[in-house]
């Protein structure tokens, strides 16, 4: 019989209380893991950004377009390898609930984004069809689209009924790549604008500027923006990471709120576990006095109490971490339109496990302090 055996017997002395406390820790760790995963997923766009890609957009606002004519000038800036462009299309498929990103893009956009993998024969078929589109693998899974299908969209930014023929299906070359978007030919959109809204034709939403050397990003950006200084459409050029981070920053308060809530949850469970441990120690104060009488030191008792607290926290934490996987997967499935891929970072689980350990240690401090200061004769008088 070792002290460790006594510790484990003590844990399950009040089975219901121990199990409820463990489940409390498990739920808290799971909630922490889910919130951190949502935050990581939210930030994953900027983590996928390539260092050799710059984004040039209108300086005043992202929603304003910039002239296609700028492209030639940008291409001649030293250090620029290739320029492609995109337009946010919007539109409605079935209804507003069935959202997925839709963008009009230049034909060379696939060179700029090698992480989006399209089979060569499908890319050729797409390039040969002005009404063709390429969709992400997850859209195929969700809607059952197949090559040759027609996707009909109701235009909102660009009114009318739009038809696209599925010519290709892209997949990401790593799990964090969004596979829920749809891309089609910018020329198709521009033809419409030339007919129906000529003043908005021959404009693009933003340029994707591929550069030769990522370390020259600041210099190239400055030179690009310098070209259009004091023009009617001044530009803002920045790295793709900074561009995407701006989107994330728009929801900065929400993200910060989620981060705070994730730690508050851990704080609450710390109080719950600390309360359990204080109650436990109070009930056993006489037993601790007996152990002290028999010659067990304060260090022995501290080990007994801290071990019990840590074990509850670790068991609960482990259950919580295991539960986080199906919960995140379920959450991702339920909100697939907004979170196409739940990014479960190892750091989330390291942090969750570390916090469970910390909670276990901190929760043991109060009862240990009480037992340390307890006089044996006072403990022996205690009625359990």
């Amino acid at each position: 019989m070792k002290i460790i055996k006594l510790m484990f017997r003590n844990i399950f002395r009040h089975k219901l209380r121990a199990i409820l406390t463990m489940l409390g820790v498990a739920v808290a760790v799971m909630a922490f893991g889910l919130l951190r995963t949502i935050i990581a997923t939210w930030n994953s766009g900027s983590s996928n950004a390539a260092p050799d890609r710059l984004v040039t957009r209108d300086k005043a606002s992202f929603v304003l377009s910039i002239p296609l004519a700028d492209m030639q000038q940008i291409e001649h800036v030293p250090g620029v390898k290739e320029v492609s462009y995109m337009n946010w299309f919007g539109g409605v498929y079935i209804d507003q609930q069935h959202f997925f990103p839709r963008m009009a893009c230049s034909t060379n956009i696939w060179d700029a984004y090698p992480e989006y993998v399209v089979p060569p024969d499908q890319l050729k078929a797409y390039n040969d069809d002005r009404h063709g589109c390429i969709i992400g693998r997850k859209l195929v899974e969700k809607y059952g689209f197949k090559i040759g299908d027609i996707i009909q969209l109701a235009g909102d930014i660009y009114p009318g009924q739009w038809q696209f023929v599925v010519r290709g299906i892209y997949t990401g070359n790593k799990p964090t790549i969004d596979e829920t978007a749809m891309y089609f030919h910018w020329e198709y959109l521009n033809e419409y604008l030339e007919k129906n809204n000529p003043s908005h034709a021959n404009n693009v939403g933003w340029y994707v500027v591929k550069i030769a050397n990522p370390s020259n990003a600041a210099q190239v950006s400055a030179e690009v923006d310098g070209l259009f200084e004091n023009s009617s459409a001044e530009t803002k050029t920045e790295t793709e990471k900074a561009f995407q981070a701006e989107f994330v920053a728009m929801y900065g308060a929400i993200i910060t709120g989620l981060q705070i809530v994730s730690y508050v949850i851990i704080g609450i469970i710390f109080l719950v576990l600390a309360n359990t441990m204080v109650m436990t120690a109070r009930e056993r104060i006489r037993e601790y006095a007996v152990l002290k009488t028999l010659g067990f030191t304060t260090a022995h008792l501290a080990t007994l109490i801290a071990g019990e607290s840590l074990s509850i926290a670790l068991l609960g934490g482990a259950i919580g971490i295991i539960l986080t996987f199906p919960i995140c997967a379920g959450f991702g499935k339920a909100f697939a339109d907004f979170f196409p891929l739940m990014v479960m970072e190892p750091m989330t689980f390291i942090l969750a496990g570390g916090l469970a350990v910390l909670v276990g240690i901190l929760a043991a401090i109060f009862p240990i302090e009480r037992v340390m200061n307890m006089k044996i004769i006072d403990g022996l008088r205690q009625v359990g």
């Binding site: 019989m1 006594l6 017997r9 037993e287 002290k292 009488t293 028999l294 010659g295 006089k375």
Partner: protein, 224 residues
């Protein structure tokens, strides 16, 4: 004449409660020779349990010295005192104070966990101690599966398993029926006569005290 195994010299004990000072023992001296079976008697509040606690090293005197087997325990630090208790004192409490999550065997084994004995040696010691108290067949029973008398016998086995210099018993029969009390007292007599253990027993029961070799009476903190 041989040195007594317990020597209490000019011991006083004052408890402080807020600004109030409560004198419990006053300038008390007591010698207990080795192999003695001493009964400390007295009315409630006379200080007999306080004296026993001081001798057992679970409380410290306000003044005076307590020497057990040549060691002045009043001068020992808390951790040294814990080690000394583990080695030299066996405790028997009124309410047995067994750990409910441990079997009789494991309860008796507890003090041995602080010794360098191997698992096999510990098992031998525990089996011997439980054999002495007549509970070899109850080793795997938990306290709630035992009668009060059996629980107290397990507590006695725990007290003797380390072969201590001194056994202190605080009202060991106070929570038992007459039959069980007789059994426990017979066991203590046996420990004293057969195993030559020095026993100091606090009791207010004259029948229990009659089993001891010697009775001392405490009244208002003074030995009579």
């Amino acid at each position: 004449m041989a040195e007594p195994i317990v020597r209490v010299q000019n011991v006083s004990k004052v408890y402080r409660r807020d600004s109030l000072q409560i004198p419990v023992l006053q300038n008390l001296s007591l010698d207990v020779p080795e192999g003695e079976f001493l009964a400390l008697m007295g009315p409630s509040g006379s200080g007999k349990t306080t004296l026993l606690n001081l001798i057992a090293g679970i409380d410290k005197p306000t003044q005076g010295s307590i020497t057990i087997g040549g060691t002045d325990i009043a001068t020992l630090s808390e951790s040294a005192l814990a080690g000394w208790r583990a080695q030299h004192v066996g405790f028997v409490f009124q309410f047995y104070n067994l750990l409910p999550v441990l079997t009789a065997f494991e309860n008796v084994e507890l003090p041995l966990l602080l010794t360098p004995l191997s698992k096999k040696e510990r098992r031998e010691h525990v089996e011997t101690a439980l054999g002495v108290v007549g509970l070899s067949d109850r080793m795997k029973h938990y306290p709630k599966q035992l009668s009060g008398g059996q629980e107290q016998r397990v507590a006695i086995a725990r007290a003797i398993v380390t072969d201590p210099t001194l056994i202190v018993a605080d009202e060991p029969t106070g929570d038992l029926d007459r039959k069980s009390a007789e059994e426990v007292l017979a066991l203590m007599e046996q420990l004293n006569s057969e195993f030559k253990k020095t026993i100091i027993m606090v009791t207010h029961d004259p029948q229990a005290a009659a089993k001891a070799h010697k009775e001392r009476h405490l009244d208002k903190g003074e030995l009579k």
